[in-house]
């Protein structure tokens, strides 16, 4: 007979001991949970927000790939953009006594009680892509997120380097007014270009992160700036707006990527298509691979007890036309963007 209290004892704490104990404990856990998994395999529950955007879909597929690479059994629960579904999913992961829980929180507040339950069950929680309210800092192991201020800086620095000492009028397509990502990407870019007196932000409007609005706003920028002749570069807070802006420039008889430099953020497949066609210059990646670093952190934590830092920052990689955009497009287009 297995004692009733066994699930708690066989959780992650016990497994920090010798390999033999670890083997026995996980074998017992596997028995208890009747998992088809082998003894050493980790089982991780991932509460994903839902399919709110193409990036989100790509994150889900990359998470599956990364888990498969490390032979981790990843159980994904789709919350359909509802916090109550995420809380339900986390409770069910706790009941299944998984080894760790990944959470991509749909909102930043209201997680305290369910994360306390996870903590009491000694199941480490890793936040993916988004942070939660600071009051809950001790309730999760680490957060794997991108620094959106840094993304803006990378974009600004690329532009400064590319332009050199020439005078350059920049127009900016902002994300949705009030979105923290938009505010941060603006802040980072502003900081980067503030160091260069020759770079001047002449116009800035919101394109709501969409292609249609990006195109409409760019059309008005072109009219307002003498047919676009005085615009030297466009900075967009996401690639979708840039794709719209590129169309607007082409329709106005301008040559984006040549006469007007473009730099945007996200690295979605379609911007690589534009780059391959010579119509876009650079993009800063918001990597969909948040699960990879999270899985590595959990593995290190389980094996050696290494406590990761509270924040694992993902790389904001810059891609330009020199990076074989066609190849990247081919590799990214299947991810569900």
């Amino acid at each position: 007979m297995i004692p009733i209290g066994a699930p708690d004892k066989t959780s992650w704490e016990t497994r920090l001991m010798t390999p033999k104990v670890l083997f026995a404990a996980s074998a017992m856990a596997s028995l208890l949970l009747a998992l088809p998994a082998s003894a050493g395999q980790l089982t991780i529950g991932f509460s994903q927000i839902g399919s709110e955007s193409g990036w989100r879909a790509a994150e889900t597929s990359v998470s599956k790939q990364e888990a498969a690479k490390r032979q981790v059994n990843l159980k994904i629960a789709d919350a359909q953009q509802k916090q109550e579904n995420q809380i339900k999913a986390i409770r069910s992961f706790i009941a299944q006594n998984v080894d760790a829980i990944f959470l991509a929180p749909v909102v930043s507040t209201g997680w305290d009680s369910v994360l306390k339950e996870a903590k009491e069950a000694k199941i480490p929680v890793v936040l993916l892509d988004r942070d939660i309210d600071p009051s809950g800092k001790d309730l999760y192991l680490t957060a794997v997120t991108s620094d959106s201020v840094h993304e803006g800086e990378v974009a600004g620095e690329w532009l400064a380097k590319t332009v050199g000492s020439k005078a350059c009028n920049i127009v900016e397509l902002q994300g949705t007014v009030g979105a923290s990502v938009a505010a941060n990407r603006k802040k980072g870019f502003d900081t980067a270009i503030a160091k260069h007196a020759n770079l001047k932000l002449v116009r800035s409007q919101t394109g709501d992160f969409t292609r249609a609005k990006g195109k409409e706003v760019m059309e008005s920028f072109i009219k307002a700036e003498g047919g676009g002749k005085s615009i030297c570069a466009v900075y967009a807070h996401n690639d979708d707006m840039m794709v719209g802006a590129i169309q607007a420039m082409k329709e106005a008889g301008l040559k984006p990527g040549k006469e007007i430099l473009t730099v945007s953020i996200d690295a979605v497949p379609d911007i690589f298509k534009a780059m391959a066609a010579g119509e876009a210059n650079a993009t800063v990646e918001l990597t969909p691979n948040m699960a990879g670093p999270a899985l590595d952190a959990i593995a290190a934590f389980k094996d050696k007890g290494t406590v990761p830092p509270k924040w694992i920052q993902t790389e904001s990689k810059l891609y330009t036309a020199a990076d074989d955009p066609q190849k990247i497009y081919d590799s990214k287009k299947g991810l569900g963007y």
């Binding site: 007014v177 249609a212 008005s220 307002a224 008889g253 963007y337």
Partner: protein
């Protein structure tokens, strides 16, 4: 009828002129026009071109509102039809794409009309169902991605030109003439107004009110479908999450600015389209002005309030009293 139009539309025409004048002040090149690759190019063309989706929506919406109804689902129908168009575009010819999308819009309109006319649901609730479900359907069609296409025929619908005018403008103009010819060239418009004015009295007088209501929702669906195809053709892709988002509200606003009452009855197609142009002239002006985007919605709200006050009989009554008081004092 035509003699009545100027007097009825005076407030709207005045509002449009004032907003155009303000646009000219914030952007000196506002009225500049030139040819670019055989296509007219300038802010005025942008206003007409960008105003097309809402103008098309308002053409359907004004008829629905005239029957004392409302259609909240038009934005979602746009998303559905855009998604269908983008999915079919690269494998099929334009006739197939248009038939499928307009057919889908027709079915959506039939669904709304069935709920309102046959089951007797309140229009705001009945169309709310498709407003919510429709976006989901569109997302299912696109699998949550932005579906892009390169079919030159469909792209032409969004970016091509006829005699220098962008195709969307020509389509909207064509739809205005067609709708006007059908409802004003026959007694149909009158029957629609009668249905909205007093459905029971009209029914007793022999008007087929159910058929009227069904017909206006179907037409509204078809107009929304066309708007959806144009929106997709414009960006060469279907964005199920954002296509037509909140445009139902702009369309209702356009109808109201055009002087048609939400309580049904008399309506004007031309003024509804003018309402859509007023909204777009303002939007384009805001974009050209260079003000921080945080002001966009505030400016829009103030202008809409001003336009509606201009039309309000009570308000002009108050203004008249104030003027008389001043005169008597002097």
């Amino acid at each position: 009828m035509t003699a009545l139009l100027p007097r009825r539309g005076l407030a709207q025409i005045l509002a449009l002129i004032v907003i155009l004048a303000v646009d000219r002040v914030v952007s000196p090149q506002f009225f500049d026009l030139r040819l670019q690759d055989g296509r007219l190019f300038g802010s005025l063309i942008d206003v007409l071109n960008r105003g097309t989706p809402v103008a098309l929506l308002s053409l359907g919406m004004v008829l629905v509102i005239a029957t004392r109804g409302i259609d909240l689902s038009v934005g979602a129908v746009m998303a559905i039809c855009g998604a269908i168009a983008a999915s079919l575009a690269d494998g099929h010819g334009l006739p197939v794409v248009l038939a499928a999308t307009l057919g889908a819009g027709l079915v959506c309109g039939l669904w709304n009309g069935f709920l309102v006319a046959v089951l007797g649901m309140q229009p705001i609730v009945a169309t709310l169902i498709l407003m919510v479900a429709g976006r989901g359907i569109a997302q299912l069609i696109t699998e949550g991605r932005i579906v892009t296409f390169s079919s030159p025929d469909l792209v032409w619908l969004g970016n091509g030109s006829v005699l220098g005018l962008p195709v969307p403008i020509v389509i909207a103009l064509g739809m205005l003439i067609l709708t006007g010819a059908v409802v004003r060239g026959s007694a149909l418009g009158l029957l629609i107004e009668a249905t909205g004015g007093n459905a029971r009295a009209s029914e007793l007088a022999g008007v087929g009110t159910r058929a009227m209501i069904l017909a206006v929702y179907v037409w509204c669906g078809v107009c929304a479908a066309l708007a959806g195809v144009i929106a997709a053709a414009d960006i060469m892709g279907a964005d199920a999450n954002n296509a037509g988002l909140w445009l139902e509200l702009d369309a209702i606003l356009a109808v109201v600015i055009g002087g048609t009452s939400l309580f049904g009855g008399r309506f004007s197609l031309v003024l509804a389209v003018l309402g859509a142009l007023i909204i777009q002239t303002m939007n384009t002006g805001i974009l050209l002005s260079g003000y921080p985007p945080e002001f966009n919605l505030l400016v829009k709200a103030v202008v809409v309030l001003a336009v509606l006050l201009l039309q309000s009989p009570k308000f002009s009554g108050l203004a008249g009293i104030a003027a008389r008081l001043r005169r008597t004092k002097a």
